[in-house]
């Protein structure tokens, strides 16, 4: 058996994205019982400078194609090269991060190859399927997080899936695989480059919620931008990162990159504190796997209490300042 992992660089840096490490660890765990191989594929202007780290997470071999023309996301070119790799390597499984890059390239590759692609998986398991032998069970939420579907690709290969960053736990680095690189020979066609990247505007705050151990999130119930400072103060007192519901983002209390949920980040911190957040299905889709959830809400019937482990019913404008004061006294 063989699993391929799409290697992604974090835009604006020369380093790997976390999801690539997470997928490598997951692929290694999936392949272990079958003594299978984990192969990385990188297509871009230059390999990430820390690519060697992948071998500590269980990677066996990295296949790469570097071309200065591919500094940006030239979808058609990258797709053609990844598809060429898949056709010649014939992996059983191909994993992509469910990032704005992975979700741009993976569907193109699956469409070209005529195989199945399962979106946004939260669990991947290899098991027997009818008379087909071992296949990949791909488990994913759908219907706005109201259902969990198990998707299989019984008759087409490879079985392809995307997985969000932060969903698979970052494994321990324990493998001492030897570093092995292989350069892909590509008959590159300039006509594959169909777009011109006129300007790149870095986003000012690069909040990485998926890496936070504790997240304090504010919702519409915080009331206004001024009051939202309280959320930042509570986060600071706890050494936490600040998150938000979409309503808080839409009202302009905070930047969009702090949004947690179906259309924001998926997080699973050790502690998630939801302040003035009702707990809509879309919000829960991004945080309900947190180890502990504390809900602060004035409405005892707010759905958020349905998934919380700790709760306090009352006005957050009174409760949060008390918490900050007491945390500072204790800490």
């Amino acid at each position: 058996m063989k699993t391929a992992v799409f290697i992604e660089k974090r835009a604006g840096t020369e380093r790997l994205r976390n999801v690539t490490l997470e997928l490598t660890g997951k692929a290694a765990a999936l392949m272990k019982p079958f003594h299978g191989e984990v192969v990385g594929i990188f297509v871009g202007d230059r390999l990430p400078e820390d690519t060697d780290d992948l071998f500590k997470y269980g990677m066996h071999r990295v296949v790469f194609y570097n071309n200065a023309k591919l500094k940006h996301l030239h979808s058609i070119a990258i797709k053609n090269i990844v598809a060429q790799f898949v056709k010649s390597e014939k992996p059983d499984i191909v994993l992509f991060g469910a990032t704005h890059t992975g979700r741009d390239i993976a569907p193109l590759v699956a469409a070209q190859i005529y195989t199945g692609l399962t979106a946004d998986c939260t669990q991947l398991v290899i098991d027997d399927y009818r008379d087909k032998g071992k296949i990949l069970y791909q488990i994913r939420p759908a219907f706005g997080g109201n259902i969990l579907a198990t998707i299989v690709t019984p008759d087409h290969r490879p079985m392809m899936a995307t997985v969000r960053e932060g969903v698979m736990p970052l494994p321990e680095q324990k493998s001492n695989n030897t570093v092995k690189f292989e350069e892909l020979t590509v008959d590159f066609k300039d006509e594959w480059v169909k777009s011109e990247f006129l300007r790149i505007i870095p986003k000012i705050s690069k909040v990485d919620l998926s890496a936070a151990n504790v997240i304090v999130s504010g919702g519409a119930g915080v009331g206004n931008k001024e009051a939202f400072k309280m959320i930042f103060q509570l986060a600071e007192a706890l050494g936490a990162e600040v998150g938000a519901s979409r309503a808080a983002v839409d009202f302009g209390f905070v930047e969009k990159d702090r949004q947690v949920g179906q259309t924001g980040s998926v997080v699973r911190p050790k502690l998630y504190i939801a302040c003035g957040i009702s707990g809509s299905i879309q919000h829960r889709a991004g945080m309900e796997e947190s180890q502990k959830i504390l809900a602060i809400n004035k409405d005892p019937d707010a759905p958020i209490f349905g998934i919380a482990h700790m709760g306090i019913v009352g006005d957050l404008k009174e409760i949060i300042p008390l918490m900050i004061r007491y945390l500072r006294e204790e800490g």
């Binding site: 058609i76 704005h100 569907p107 690069k206 209490f305």
Partner: protein
């Protein structure tokens, strides 16, 4: 001038689940959900209409679904689309994103003369965000996903902004092109009263009594349908449940249910107890 096709899907309103859509056991009764125009497809339509406002290009809505999906075609006509096609056939049922995009691409070829396709980023039921790019691949078009703004439009290229997560990318993309548009791109316009008056009778041919055909034709009230038989080159083995590489093996409903919830008093003592519990459990996290 080449035409613009907008891809849109009628979806159950998974965002507003209330009342009888919730079952006793806390799971969602999907059959009881009202249907809506997929939210980001309205942003896609608005993008296309803005291009129409600037260039006069024709905007055509294309939806694959049951007869009920005529509702979103009419909504698009009310907003300013020039025409809408209903792509419907029992043979299409059960299609995954691969088969769906194959059928949509064949329909776009049938419509003909299209060099721009605008899709929503994601449908709120299937939630895959795969159909747009897969249509681009089937048509051999250029693509830009996660579009957050429309800048320039010329005969040869369209300049858009793309949400690249850590950066905004300003991209001049050559036609023929497929865009997938996010909710950040615009605010969809309201239907116009004039268009509502003009199109409220619109329906598919099959529903129009024979004696009224001529009147409907004259007034542009006939919503064209496309079926399997209309898509000459389509390979039946690659559509529907049978032609779809992915299969839904099992579905589990997620119940909204109470875990073991410890409540604290909102007064000072309760808050102190809460903070103490937090500190006990998270000292190691904090340090």
């Amino acid at each position: 001038m080449s035409k613009i096709v907008v891809l849109a899907k009628q979806v159950p309103d998974t965002a507003n689940i209330r009342g009888n859509a919730m079952k006793e056991d806390g799971t969602v009764n999907r059959a009881a959900l009202p249907t809506v125009f997929n939210p980001e497809d309205l942003n896609a339509l608005e993008t296309a209409l803005q291009i129409k406002d600037r260039t006069g290009r024709e905007v055509i809505l294309l939806t694959m679904g049951p007869y009920k999906a005529v509702e979103i075609i009419k909504q698009a006509l009310y907003m300013g689309a020039d025409a809408g096609y209903l792509l419907t056939d029992k043979k299409f049922a059960g299609s995954d994103t691969w088969a769906t995009s194959y059928i949509l691409a064949e329909a776009i070829k049938k419509i003909g003369g299209v060099d721009l396709v605008v899709a929503g980023r994601q449908a709120i039921d299937g939630d895959t965000a795969q159909v747009g790019p897969q249509v681009a691949e089937k048509l051999n078009f250029n693509q830009v996903t996660y579009v957050t703004a429309l800048n320039d439009v010329t005969d040869k290229a369209i300049t858009v902004e793309r949400d690249g997560e850590f950066q905004t990318e300003v991209i001049k993309a050559r036609l023929p092109l497929l865009l997938t548009v996010t909710s950040a791109a615009n605010t969809p316009r309201y239907p116009s009263a004039r268009n509502m008056l003009r199109y409220f009778k619109a329906d598919i041919k099959e529903n129009i009594p024979a004696e009224k055909r001529a009147e409907y034709e004259r007034n542009g009230w006939v919503i064209p349908t496309l079926t399997f038989a209309d898509l000459k080159d389509i390979n039946e083995a690659q559509i529907g449940l049978k032609g779809s590489p992915t299969k839904v093996n099992a579905i589990r409903d997620i119940a909204v249910q109470g875990g073991d919830l410890k409540m604290y008093d909102p007064q000072l003592d309760g808050v102190k107890a809460l903070v103490r519990d937090l500190m006990k459990q998270y000292v190691e996290v904090q340090s």
